[in-house]
């Protein structure tokens, strides 16, 4: 006898259940890192549209204005006709006082701002040359993106090609390339990079070249390891038997097998490239000023800290940290998703 199911209605999911379901799905995807990374990419791509001010030109009269939310500091000062050096701290001339309050008279006490309040004109304040910090942070994303994409493309290709050849040919070729990797790992590269950039000149392309020196070995090692496994696969032997050229086997048959790992390595390397580029900029060997780069902006604000001007250094540094952190989190997630074998290597 068949059960009578006609009276049973499956209840539609309640609102709470729906939210929980969406949350469960989202939990698997690293929403926050992806969101923050897209912000950086959008900032880089559409900087001219998004930035409220010119990032390279500032008005010196508007220098060191704090972020919009901070209130200014004011002190009561006595209005005098002429000011002597000794009472500069306590008095103000009549003409200056009239700018604040047109009715000011000599002998009045008047509140004068010793530090201006933030204004909504400059959301994150201005730097020591009166340039808008927010606009500079937005434009700074461009340099970081450009440098990391070009470095990744060039350095990555060199690394992959070297890795493919080392893994495929083995023997002396492998030995030579892997020793090259060892030497690279043993050299204090940031120092060499500094020397190179300073002697050859500070240009974007020299910086990219130097950064490529940093990142190719990681790719070479990873790909070499994969090739060593893949080259004994049946489909590779078949390709060989049917007369495919070595280049064809390497790029058409073996390379696609390494792509998952490469994506993971690339994501994590972008973070490293951004850190390195900003370190070079910070030390004064980055993209030359006045082009806004995050590292040099942090450096600009360094000696203003003692005067309480904290915003010039803080925001570009936060931008670097948030970008690198998102890349790391996203890379970890990619690794877990694409390549479970890598998980144990941590």
């Amino acid at each position: 006898m068949a059960a009578d199911l006609s009276g049973i209605v499956i209840a539609p999911p309640t609102f709470g259940e729906k939210v929980a379901g969406i949350y469960r799905k989202l939990k698997r995807l690293p929403v926050i890192p992806v969101f923050l990374l897209s912000l950086v990419v959008i900032a880089g791509l559409f900087a001219p549209v998004l930035a409220p001010h010119d990032p390279e030109k500032g008005d010196l009269r508007e220098r060191n204005i704090p972020p919009a939310w901070s209130s200014g500091e004011s002190e009561p000062k006595t209005v005098v006709e002429r000011m002597s050096i000794n009472d500069r701290a306590t008095s103000v001339t009549l003409s200056d006082a009239k700018k604040v309050n047109p009715d000011a008279q000599i002998g009045d006490q008047i509140d004068i701002y010793t530090r201006p309040a933030g204004s909504t004109k400059f959301l994150l304040g201005t730097d020591h040359l009166g340039r808008d910090v927010l606009s500079r942070v937005i434009y700074g994303a461009r340099i970081s993106l450009l440098v990391s994409i070009v470095t990744l493309a060039v350095g990555g290709s060199i690394g992959v090609t070297m890795g493919l050849m080392a893994g495929w040919y083995g023997g002396a070729m492998d030995e030579f390339l892997m020793r090259l990797v060892d030497i690279k790992l043993a050299i204090p590269l940031i120092l060499i990079a500094l020397v190179l950039v300073i002697t050859l000149g500070q240009s974007l392309w020299i910086i990219v070249t130097v950064l490529c020196l940093f990142i190719w070995p990681r790719f070479a090692r990873q790909v070499r390891g994969e090739v060593l496994q893949l080259k004994h696969m049946d489909y590779v032997s078949l390709a060989k038997v049917s007369g495919a050229s070595t280049a064809r086997i390497l790029f058409i048959h073996i390379f696609p097998g390494t792509i998952n790992t490469l994506i993971v390595v690339a994501t994590l390397q972008v973070g490293i490239v951004i850190l390195l580029e900003s370190t070079l900029s910070f030390l004064g060997a980055g993209v030359p000023p006045p082009t806004p780069a995050w590292g040099s902006m942090v450096s600009d604000g360094r000696d203003k800290l003692a005067g309480g001007v904290w915003w010039i250094s803080t925001f570009p540094g936060l931008a670097i940290m948030i970008t690198v952190m998102s890349l790391n989190l996203f890379g970890d997630w990619l690794r877990d998703t694409l390549d479970p074998r890598l998980r144990q290597l941590e």
Partner: protein, 305 residues
């Protein structure tokens, strides 16, 4: 094992040689060094005499040979900026860097290892979360920015420590924390994942089944085996701390080799720069070699290969 060590030694040697070659080429690419030593009032005679003294009249390979010969004897010529032997300047600045490096190294171990153990043992609790945040900041924040922020908060705002320079004992705190944080974060992650692996193993389960208390299990059985990955990493750390000092010494005006390198670089003081870079590489390579030896000692698979 001897073969392994011989290879490692050869690698260290080749590394030093390639760095010296890069540095030598760079110093020649940047132009005739006489431009730095001589001013507009010097005569052609001075120019030629200088060339003879510096060996600039000889072919490049001979000049490089001369440079190497001097380097082996510890003679890197005279610093242009300081007008005294490079070796003297380098030796004078080395102790500050070694001090900073060792304090930062101790910090990274003393903070990273216990926090790593705690995170693994208390997996999934708030302690694990705190550990994760510390590690994440350490691996994502650029050290130069971290240093500036620490300086602003603890030195400028709170006035607890001097903001820069090397005066009292407490002036080392901020630079050491800045330099060590990244490696503390790395140690934390390494110890945590190694600890989790070990805690999951059969012999730990056996110990638990026998009724051994968890303190003994963690400290005696698990911790010892979880120490191997961070030990391996220590070598990398020691070397990289040297490089990290470039940035941190610049931020905190710490009178060490890192700052000396930057000063020499921007003053185009090539003899001094060569000396500092070679010293850095020597430190780096020595640390790596010592770790390779220790590693061979710890890991029987390498010892008997």
């Amino acid at each position: 094992m001897q073969k392994y060590l011989a290879r490692r030694f050869l690698l260290a040697f080749v590394t030093l040689l390639s760095v010296s070659l890069i540095i030598f080429i760079m110093s020649r690419v940047s132009g005739d060094p006489r431009h730095i030593y001589l001013d507009d009032y010097s005569t052609q005679e001075d120019w030629d005499r200088m060339g003879e003294v510096l060996g600039l009249d000889k072919p490049y390979y001979e000049q490089y040979g001369m440079f190497l010969k001097g380097a082996v004897k510890g003679d890197f010529g005279e610093s242009v900026r300081e007008a005294r032997p490079v070796t003297e300047v380098v030796l004078e600045r080395s102790p500050a860097t070694l001090l900073l490096g060792s304090v930062a190294f101790s910090f990274s171990i003393l903070v990273g290892v216990p926090l790593g153990i705690l995170s693994a043992v208390k997996r999934g609790t708030w302690m694990d979360q705190v550990g994760k945040i510390i590690a994440l900041i350490g691996q994502s924040a650029p050290p130069f920015w971290l240093g500036i922020m620490l300086m602003f908060f603890f030195a400028v705002q709170l006035g607890m420590v001097p903001p820069y320079g090397k005066q009292d004992w407490n002036s080392i705190i901020l630079p050491a924390v800045t330099l060590g944080w990244y490696y503390a974060a790395a140690n934390l992650r390494l110890v945590r994942s190694a600890m989790l692996d070990v805690l999951d193993s059969e012999y730990i389960k056996l110990a638990r089944a026998k009724g051994v208390n968890s303190r003994t299990i963690i400290m005696k059985h698990a911790f010892r085996n979880a120490l191997i990955p961070p030990l391996t990493f220590a070598g990398v750390t020691l070397g990289a701390l040297v490089t990290g000092s470039l940035v941190v010494e610049t931020v905190f005006a710490w009178p060490g080799l890192g700052r000396l390198a930057i000063e020499a670089l921007f003053a185009f003081d090539y003899p001094l720069l060569q000396g500092v870079v070679i010293t850095f590489t020597l430190l780096y390579v020595t640390a790596a070699f010592v770790v390779d030896v220790l590693y061979a000692y710890v890991d029987p698979r390498i010892r008997y290969a």
